[in-house]
Symmetry: C2
Amino acid sequence: MNQALEGVKVLDLTRVLAGPYATMVLGDMGADIIKIEMPGVGDDSRQFGPYVKGESAYFLSLNRNKRSITLNLKKEKARQLFIEMVKKCDVVVENFRPGTMEKLGLGYEELKKINPSIIYAACSGFGHTGPYSQRAAYDAVVQAMGGIMSITGEKDGKPTRVGPSIGDITAGLFSAIGILSALNYRNQTGKGQMVDVAMLDCQVAILENAIARYVVTGEIPMPAGNRHTSIVPFEPFETLDGEIMIAAGNDGLWGKLCKIMNREDLIADDRFKTNPLRNQNYAELRPIIAKIIGTKTSKEWLQILEEAGVPNGPINTIDKVLENPQINAREMIKEVYHPTAGGLKMPGVPIKMSETQGEIVKPAPILGQHTEEILKELLNLTSDEILNLQKEDIF
Amino acid sequence: MNQALEGVKVLDLTRVLAGPYATMVLGDMGADIIKIEMPGVGDDSRQFGPYVKGESAYFLSLNRNKRSITLNLKKEKARQLFIEMVKKCDVVVENFRPGTMEKLGLGYEELKKINPSIIYAACSGFGHTGPYSQRAAYDAVVQAMGGIMSITGEKDGKPTRVGPSIGDITAGLFSAIGILSALNYRNQTGKGQMVDVAMLDCQVAILENAIARYVVTGEIPMPAGNRHTSIVPFEPFETLDGEIMIAAGNDGLWGKLCKIMNREDLIADDRFKTNPLRNQNYAELRPIIAKIIGTKTSKEWLQILEEAGVPNGPINTIDKVLENPQINAREMIKEVYHPTAGGLKMPGVPIKMSETQGEIVKPAPILGQHTEEILKELLNLTSDEILNLQKEDIF
């Protein structure tokens, strides 16, 4: 056994982002991800630009380590094949609107009759229960509704959407955690179950201290800009040629910062001695620091701050992320070779394990690339049987 | 077995956010989280405001379902007790700077000699390898360095920090996934291993399509405001009394939106017929929609949009999140009773499971609340032995 989830077989009906992110994470850990796609079309995100030699870079980034089989589940014979596959697999994952699988006669209640050990994970916008259950959701909708936008943005500014689709991605991560927890339960008891994760719920789960602050103080949290809400100085400052983050999280670090600014007098200054005082006199302190930081380049300051041990960082654009020595040393940018698209850089595996290292062992599949292979392997179909089924347009 | 991770014993040395978030998720799924804290002080976040009757609401929100034992690991007898506990437990989690556990003689290499099945998870700012490994990180630093700030914010505006500490939280989620994957491997092979998760790596892992866009087009992604980068209309609009999100993700939904705006003429309008055209003529289209949406209240529009089936949502502030019927139907706001603080509302469990429902079975512990209980239970110490140890100030 070389990978942590080796031998775990996942029937993956997911499309676009939340579901495919969950199965990507499982695939990175070694699970066998069998991606089931509609013949001729496939995952909607195969149509999302930008393209590399006709392949969607979006799709390629999210579907590494997966195999693709096409199956038109609206046809009875395809449904039967799917049911046979459920008998041989450990996990089914889908991110349809609740009710879609039931309409196909493939809801959890049906599937558990066929395989009581099956783990069935459903990742949807609002979940399988509650008054909004049937509503369509997009990332932008759950970011708006779940509160994260209301606490992101410039101070006194408008609610701001988080750039990456954090509504989808966190739902993908919680789905993976649910599936793995269910797998542990199944390893002990033999029993499967349904895991129901809603994008909106996950937005609430990641609000951090905003709920506590509101319920205790009664004050509605608002966008706070890039400043820490209670520590000073802990925010970006402009340099001669850009902007850097300086995070002097305690009095010791504040002292170090004063020294490298050649302003040791500030350490004993009655206005700035302690963090509460620095908070109180922020309006006086910020311009003093800003003026000094503005005199050197980002590179110069980052080196000085680093040598002094004051937490700091550049505010990297994506091109700089790809060049960052730590990110590269951790193999967090991997170039994956795809037979059609060629080499494509994508994020690596962020879970580093000493015995079962996560890996990108194969590129994203082309549509239906493994249909024959999977049907032979899971269901022992012969080439002739597959050829006959093909004539009926079920894949 | 009532919970998915029942019987999984976790020695939790984590503080503040990333690590405690990981163990909270495991605790919600039923793992026994034994939180080891420094005598007299405890987790730093016990000092973070706001307070309810002397207890930190921040701490209470993140440490439900955990038990607390105090142990001064700098004392040899405490170290020995910890080592005895490692023999009886499944997982050790810490989020110290790399090297801290080694200095205590409790690094993974030592612990695996004591218990080869132990799963040792380390969650740090930059990870246990690479040139930045020894640097201190804060959420703000990894958000800056990892690129997410550079693609969040108003169009043509400045890089913007995501309100909640997404750098910590995603590292907590990936750590939980790593631990559960390692648990599956151990269930099969009996072998433990080390899981090393870096906050910075996780920021790269959630950049979504930003890396693909950059490597394919060569254009550096920038803050894009609240607009979808390729779909129109898909953004907030101001109403008479607020702002709402409208997400007309395809031509069908665009048609429905035109109808409810009483502007069916726009459907056939050559400038707006298809999504590419709506993108191209965005400058003309946006004011037309904005003017109409500005004529009714948010409540009126949300109802009209919902009835027409156009994805929509209010941009909720935190007070509205707490009142939302779907969020409440899903029990995503739970009031948890704490013996000192009384009732406190906090996020519920976002993973809904049919057989082993995640639960908040106990409030966050007071410092050292379970020291005696845990020492008796895990190590069979007697009350007298505990009393004697207590005199040596090891807990």
